[in-house]
């Protein structure tokens, strides 16, 4: 079940990322588009910098929500693995 949800979330993230990437290519040209492919993090930042003029605010909110969910879920999994393996204390600084 979690695997299915994870796959759906990944696909949605990919779709919104590609939509923003297309906007990036159209607005900024080939080189910045290539930079966006190389680093989707740049595409994400560019999307937020230009969301109003490009009319992609909703898309950016969806993408941001997916990222936060992925990071929280990934962090919970990572911390449970680490604490069950070694009871590492440094993780308590972040949780």
């Amino acid at each position: 079940m979690l695997g299915v949800i994870s796959n759906i979330v990944s696909i949605v993230a990919w779709i919104v990322g590609i939509l923003v990437l297309i906007k990036l290519f159209k607005k900024e040209g080939v080189l910045k588009g290539i930079l966006g492919i190389i680093c989707m993090l740049y595409t994400f930042i560019w999307g937020w910098m230009h969301h109003k003029e490009e009319g992609i605010t909703t898309i950016m909110w969806v993408w941001t929500a997916i990222i936060i969910v992925s990071m929280v879920f990934g962090g919970v999994v990572a911390s449970s693995i680490a604490s069950s393996a070694a009871g590492s204390s440094y993780l308590s600084l972040f949780i």
Partner: protein, 138 residues
């Protein structure tokens, strides 16, 4: 030719907030990876299973900053170049407006004359395709 050599770095550092956001995001991503927490998850790799040209850069930079140069280059050969690029963007974002705009102009001129950014970006794509079809990743 003019379009291929169009500036990429200069427009980024022209906007202080964009430059600051990029450098902070990059530092945060590398910091998260360094402490073993999940950083930015590549949507391309998540869906297709194929690493994008920028995959493994965060880990490579983390290794580079720990002094493990050989391991870093083995993970991703462009790590040092990206560190320089992001460092340049970060420093430029903190400069006073007059100085930053002067740096923007000089950067744009260098990028137009030499095509250095285009060379690096296309080089990165070529490197990625070599790894994809011949040498593997990681």
């Amino acid at each position: 030719m003019v379009k291929i050599f169009s500036p990429v770095l200069a427009p980024i550092i022209r906007s202080r907030w964009e430059a600051l956001a990029i450098s902070v995001a990059a530092v945060l991503h590398v910091a998260l990876i360094t402490v073993g927490l999940p950083g930015w998850q590549c949507p391309i790799k998540a869906v297709t299973g194929v690493p994008c040209p920028g995959c493994f850069l965060g880990t490579a930079i983390s290794l580079l900053l720990k002094g493990k140069l050989q391991q870093s280059l083995g993970m991703h050969a462009f790590a040092p170049i990206v560190v320089l690029g992001v460092g340049f963007i970060g420093v430029a974002s903190l400069l006073p407006d007059t100085v930053r705009l002067s740096v923007v102009q000089k950067t744009a001129e260098i990028e137009r004359r030499t095509g250095i950014t285009a060379i690096i970006l296309f080089g990165l794509l070529f490197y990625w395709s070599l790894r994809l079809f011949w040498f593997g990743f990681g």
